[in-house]
Symmetry: D2
Subunit: 345 residues, 4 copies
């Protein structure tokens, strides 16, 4: 059993890590830290876990964490992670960071959208943790920058097709819809029940910080600069993210052709399911799972390809993918701890 | 007081007509017909209306309706309306039809997406009831084809800009999200609570019957053929529709320029509200009202204009707009019966 | 037109007052105060109201309010109201207070559950604003303590029956379920979307501050001490409150007998609707209205009477009832401004 | 690996059985029958299961089922089960029936609330499958009548206390609130999204068929006749049931005393969690799990005990409990297949 710690374990992504790790066959969860809830049993904060997780939240200390764990998940706010991660790396720990701090190759891009970066050196070795793209690098990585939820939902359907000759990469539009848990556990009017329930809206229109992240990954992979138009929306559900992508076609292409690109790219990937042609993803079908379901349609009249992906933003969009990365880093089966049957409803 | 009847008054659009008409200062609701609930008090079917609406549902008969009312709203399923409307027109009634049967100018287009048309002659004189576009024609009309909910949400933001020199009309994509009441009151697994709640999906991807409707209206208005890529989605809320539109820009244009196009087009229109630049629509802000809120953003990096509209699909997207049309046809104030203050939440 | 002001106009109860008052035929809303949003247009805070309410929020000042208005609604937190109301009364204003500060006759009872009372003298003249019980006193009152939402939902079904010979007043249990807007607009983890959505719980079990309020009113009315067992629950909806009441029967009684007690008590009350015997209330049927729907059932096997009431907690449970009180105080029709047709869904 | 079949596998309870069984370490799911979906892959009906469950739905035949499986779950509508179960028992199968058909000891009671019983003989040997009460009998049973969801939520909190000297068994009131999945997958207006969403109501007031079921079990256990007043309500959530129980106290008793009764009764029961005194159950904490959480409070002023239980109606209230019963019948660990960590949200 490998010992693991979750830093920032009482936010939603942290608690979801605790859930997945507490059912993982090859790891032992040895420490949960929480600034706010230091000294309180984790199951006081998340009573669902009573009888399952018996740890008490502790304050973060590099020394204590290093003694307790060989693998560390950092589920901290952006900008705080980069103050904590370098020390853990120095201690020889493997770190999977769920913030944005180690997702970018280009520090200038990070700094344009976030803050001055305090650990630029680490960006050179950190691996962007999208296992369907960077499996081999993740295997060897000490530090993985776990992808954002929106980028995960945008990149997975686009990657198999971005280099296809019939695609015009300058025409990509991603219209995403996210459940409310993506906003985290910190209270605000934006996530107040009565402001979300029975409502639907766009936010950060063409100005979301996940936009440069997906642009960078896609550009590096395609070998040319790509800018996506990206609009996130808030859905009055707890878990789930659906992204509808529109891509202009340079040539005629059939739905069947698209299917074969997707099918072959994901042939041996356990967490991507390509929908049959008559069916489209629904966040309900992936809730609580690490799956990304992908559907597709060629709109012949307007010569556009429509791609639709669905993930659970807290699992494949955050904590599940982080554990998938850990599995790869440690040589476990990629699906270890992530293979509970989905809920039918 | 003008006498009005609602044909098909126990579906959701019909019941919403009953709501608006029962609070209208210049009309008397004299008859509600319902095949299914003949002989039962309307307030048995909609107990909210107990003490407000005292009518009993009756079976439809052209003669009885004609005797009872001078204005008739037909809220029947597509294809059934066209069997009923011609007789009412022959009786000299003014008719506002909420089905798709009298929305198209081109019968071939209707027939390609629906059924063989049984009243093609009436298509020549029927007026498409989008008051912000066809006010003068509606004033003189005997028969108004009330617009679909999706077309209303797509056309209102697009019309002021479709002829602007900086717009590329071949690049229009409309990504719409609708509340569940748009699917009506007929039960089906698609609208079963547990299949909608905590779920989000696209449906009828690039194959929805409202697509040719919006294409035809837009093409006629722009004076050239326009095809939109249109994808509807289902939101787990009862009322509300939000549409996000993406349009390619042929020239640089500022958000301020766009604002002036929208502001001037809707300067004297009581039911369209243009959002200030820093704010975007939310279905919550228009719930229960006849408003269409419109927001906009110029994505400079990708040279696209993003337009966002919000309506209540049952009001501006159906019954409210139908009453607005009646007001115009009868010379009432356009806002009569439609001016209750909105709910803050 | 009577001039009215809303003090604390940007909380949910305050905003709901603004909604009702802005559609009221006999009043002019002249001032909205808000400590937090001083200087900002009300429609910035509630964009639904854009184009409807053009007032800017102001800081509270007794002098400014007194100059602007003859009737003042105070929608302030408990314990803050009592610092503000006495000055307004001294200025000769009529005041309807939505806090708990002027609901109790017995200051000791208030102080046992809230704080030391700073304006005990006013308790002697303040009238408990349940119009179906205290119409005549409200007519003459300068200060009305507007009832709590739970007490309204408990008292209305119980009052017609509490003196009936077949009722055992020592056996009353009220199990209430409230929508989330009852918790107000202040953010907290308790009302965070992901903590309320897809969840259901009891809270403040047999320890809610509305319990002594209902006990006092009921005891005074019945002429004997009554203690109710009261448990509130939180429902993942925005608006609505349903209360299920269980009362032991000392004698056999038929559902028809109960009906006649209820019907005769509420014969001329415009906002109470007694359900027919085969039907029970639903919060959906009263949403957005000032109605209280009441259903009832005699459980013969267990000799208990079950009463069920439904209200919109923000309307009959708060702001609508406050306006109803104002109507009575000013001699308007009791329903003025409160008679829009309900929504069918 | 024991071979198991699910009869009626495409309703919600059936699909939930498929979920639990497909993750069970000691069984192999060999057959799913469905009248409606015969010949279609199960994952067509429940796309969440794509890649997990590869079975095709088959029509029911006693012979085919008997060949394929040693244990059979019947998830059929009431009254249909009793036509199918006797044949399976004759074939020597172990059967867990999720309908009401084998829950009653007294056939007359069943027939008073349901239909004439066609397999009365089996009622003598069938065991009521509440493992916390009938563990030993279940071990030896061939046929288990799996409890109803409401009875499970009512019986578990009451059983430890029903024989306590301070309890008055003639005063029990159970006010239950259920998620909508309890109504099953068959479409109806009652479960139409727009009729449930943003609504709350009671139904079958003091007339629900689960009432005699709980009365019979409780009476047999207590050794005296007990009638409960029971009112179910519908909550706009998919999964979850919360029951609030009120019991009159004949003597003074402290919350601590109650705690010790509950704690000792459930000391070694893996699926019942007694909440600490300061905390009450929430359906959210048990969602997707086989737990029953129980909270309690002594209302001293009114001398009543309040008990609150929360279960997932589809798991502990149906399919999870059925698998728990199977585990006991087959000598597996009681928690096998039911021990995935709960979701924090």
């Amino acid at each position: 059993m490998v010992k693991v710690a979750v830093i920032g374990g009482t936010g939603y992504a942290g608690a979801e890590l605790v859930r997945v790790l507490s059912g993982h066959p090859h790891v032992e969860l040895t420490m949960i830290t929480s600034r706010r809830y230091e000294g309180r049993p984790f199951s006081d904060i998340y009573p669902a876990m009573a009888g399952i997780v018996n740890l008490t939240c502790r304050a973060f200390s590099e020394e204590a964490v290093s003694k307790s764990a060989d693998v560390v998940f950092t589920a901290l706010p952006h900008e705080i992670s980069m103050g904590v991660v370098p020390g853990l790396i120095d201690q020889g720990k493997k770190v999977i960071d769920l913030s944005a701090d180690f997702r970018f190759k280009d520090p200038a891009l990070y700094e344009a959208w976030y803050e001055p970066h305090q650990a630029k050196e680490l960006l050179k070795t950190a691996v962007y943790g999208l296992p369907e793209l960077h499996f081999n690098d993740i295997q060897k990585a000490s530090l993985v920058g776990n992808p954002g939820c929106y980028p995960t939902s945008v990149l997975l359907p686009l990657m198999p097709l971005i280099k296809a000759p019939f695609i015009d990469p300058d025409t990509i539009i991603a219209d995403s819809k996210s459940g409310t848990s993506g906003a985290g556990r910190s209270v605000s009017l934006t996530t107040h029940f009565c402001e979300v329930n029975e409502a639907f809206k766009a936010y950060n229109v063409a100005a979301h910080r996940h936009n440069p992240e997906m642009d960078e990954v896609l550009s590096l992979f395609a070998g040319r600069t790509i800018h996506i138009t990206f609009t996130p929306h808030l859905v009055p559900i707890t878990r789930g993210m659906l992204t509808t992508i529109y891509v202009g076609l340079k040539e005629d292409v059939s739905t069947r052709d698209v299917a074969s690109f997707l099918d072959s790219f994901y042939a041996d990937k356990p967490f991507v399911r390509i929908c049959p042609m008559s069916r489209f993803p629904n966040t309900m079908y992936v809730r609580g799972t690490n799956y990304c379901d992908i559907g597709f349609h060629v709109a012949e009249r307007t010569k556009r390809l429509i791609l639709i992906s669905a993930i659970d933003n807290l699992v494949k969009g955050a904590s599940g993918q982080a554990v998938q990365n850990m599995n790869i880093m440690l040589g476990f089966a990629e699906t270890a701890g992530l293979d509970q049957p989905p809920f039918p409803l």
